[in-house]
Amino acid sequence: MNMESLERFTPWRSILAEARTAPAEDVLPPLGHWRLAVGDISLLVERRALWVGALLLLALLVVSLAYLALGTGRLTPPAVWWALVGHGDPVATFLVQELRLPRLVAAWLTGAAFAVAGCLMQTLARNRLATPSIIGIDNGATAFAVASVVGLGTSLAPPAMALVGAATAAAITFGLASGGDTRGYRFIVAGIGIGAVFGAVTQLLLAQVPIDSANAAYPWTVGTLNARSGGAILTLAGGCAVGLPLALVLARSLGNMRFSDAIAQGFGVPLRRRRIQVLSLAVVLTALAVAVAGPVGMVGLIGPEIARSLSSSRGVPLIASALAGALVMVLADLVGRLLLAPIELPVGIVTAIVGGPWLLWILLRPSRNPA
């Protein structure tokens, strides 16, 4: 099989750059794709993916603007602009710059990280329920963060402890599931077991402290974007800056791994190594996001789901997932802030209530396509 026909046959993910030596006009772009060529380098773009990406980005921008404008204090779009550039009314400037903007950024980053991690793991396991949060990473983070809040033998701040907890849960899970099997199933089941243990530990902790401490630990048990740690957000931003491009690179072989192992190997994918890399990346992204917002795992399910329903069936819609995850997160937090004002609903609860029926539908519908 020569390079060219392999190229046609392979469902390459859309926006990946393909450096080529052959003159561009020799090769027809595959159906539904555009080729953008600059000199010797040409870029193969799937049209639909481009449209979906643009659409999601537009929606994200609109919702973000609404996010900055709406709340207990309402602002007009021009007022938002003046507040952003720092020339507005001081209260509005404070409202936008100190309260809403950091929260919005946290929503973007956590949403994207959760969704990309979810998409990676779903593709790996060929199961749309296999997201990092469901397999215990969230529970590990919650248990450690709660321990920190209720003041048990640690001086680390809750976000740092959440990170440690997520890492611990993931490390134990990796340890137990060593040897790696097809689709990372051992990893998933070991993770669910570990998650159950950490869940029990969290409940034990909460049952032993005064209600005031249990209240203080509450945000870490549901997930919220209210007054998050700046340090954790910066760390997550760094993680996303490295992790998302890495995810795109890995997605190339991941696209092939959707087929059976034999076919994937036929494409020359080093299966074992690639599986571990993908799992690790998903775990790291989730851990960093959990350290910011707590367990908002449902986004890792909803984001890729939206992305997949919009995108074509080929490939792994990572960019669309990231955008959709961020969109869901911003929208959910906006709803949580507005719905019962002045009382805020934590974003984790909103996503669970929105995602819940969806989840049930996935579970209960006739299995047309058992994925």
């Binding site: 204090g73 209260v91 409202l95 049952a207 402290v209 945000p219 007054a227 700046g230 004002a341």
Partner: protein, 309 residues
């Protein structure tokens, strides 16, 4: 020292813009260092039940407060001190404070709980001077120190001191009356749960009030040092509750129901204190989580009603 610089920046910048131009004379020692507070704050937001209690005790009605129960209001014993026109606006629940709602009240002083997270403090302190009491080991007189700090921040130290003195005087008067009536002795405070009772520490606010009226409060050695209550107690160890009085806290309005439930347990029914009918059902919300001068008075009301009928 990061706090101090942040604080200074906040003071210089936003606070002056937001607050009325009151002279900033007083400075109080909080968990986050010295905080300058306005002379006579007019728009106070309380994010802590103890702070709401202390403010009302010195006749400052906050413009904003967090809910305690059920999502729609403040604790029951507090209701008596509020009138409809000046009711504080709700700015969130204890578990999730709505920072925008706090900002919308344009406070010039914020009183918060010792458990306030650092991130929330950073933001709140940019809205207005935020007073957070030092988190301390449990002790029966913690509430006095917290209330005094809040009183100081409100610029009403004397009023608060006299509120505390009133509580102390009433307690010692009650102690005399109880001793005279021969109703004194020892007491336990217990929360009844299906898994087993929780014995409350003798270092709590409410157990401190019991001690103040001359009752000898014990936790029967069941509460680990620093803990607020024991683990759910094995029924086999119920006999360790040897006090003359048993205060049975329940979070429901129907305290009698909890008592009925408890009575159905054989191990409970055979306690001497139950046989002598010296079990007092009390409001768990007030007895196990409130603090402040008004709560103290409410608890003393309960004690008086039970011991001196």
């Amino acid at each position: 020292m990061l706090h101090v610089t942040r604080l200074a920046a906040a003071m210089a910048g936003l606070t002056t813009l937001l607050t009325l131009s009151t002279a900033q004379a007083a400075s109080v020692a909080t968990a986050h260092g010295e905080v300058e507070v306005p002379d006579s704050p007019e728009r106070v937001v309380t994010l802590y039940e103890g702070a709401l209690d202390a403010a009302l005790a010195v006749e400052v009605t906050p413009v904003g407060a967090v809910t305690t129960r059920g999502g729609d209001g403040v604790a029951r014993y507090i209701e008596a001190y509020l009138d409809e026109e000046t009711r504080p606006a709700i700015v969130g629940v204890v578990r999730e404070i709505n920072l925008e709602a706090v900002l919308a009240e344009r406070p010039d002083l914020i009183l918060a709980a010792p458990q306030l997270s650092d991130e929330q403090y950073t933001l709140l302190s940019k809205i207005a001077p935020t007073v957070v009491p030092e988190a301390r080991e449990l002790a029966p007189d913690n509430w006095q120190q917290e209330a005094r700090l809040f009183g100081e921040a409100l610029g009403r130290e004397e009023a608060l001191d006299s509120a505390i003195t009133e509580v102390e005087e009433r307690a010692s008067a009650l102690a005399g009356a109880i001793a005279e009536a021969g109703e004194g002795g020892s007491a336990n405070l217990v929360r009844w749960m299906p898994q087993g009772p929780l014995v409350m520490s003798d270092a709590l606010f409410s157990t401190g009030m019991l001690a103040a009226v001359g009752l000898e409060v014990t936790d029967a050695g069941l509460v680990s040092p620093g803990g607020a209550h024991s683990d759910p107690l094995s029924l086999e160890n119920l006999s360790r509750l040897e006090g003359d009085w048993l205060f049975l806290a329940t979070l429901n309005e129907e305290g009698d129901q909890a008592l009925d439930a408890a009575r159905q347990s054989a191990a409970f029914a055979r306690l001497p204190v139950v046989e002598n009918d010296r079990v007092v059902p009390v409001d768990g919300q007030l007895w196990t989580s409130a603090s402040g001068p008004l709560a103290a008075q409410a608890i003393l009301d309960d004690i008086e009603a039970a011991l001196l009928p």
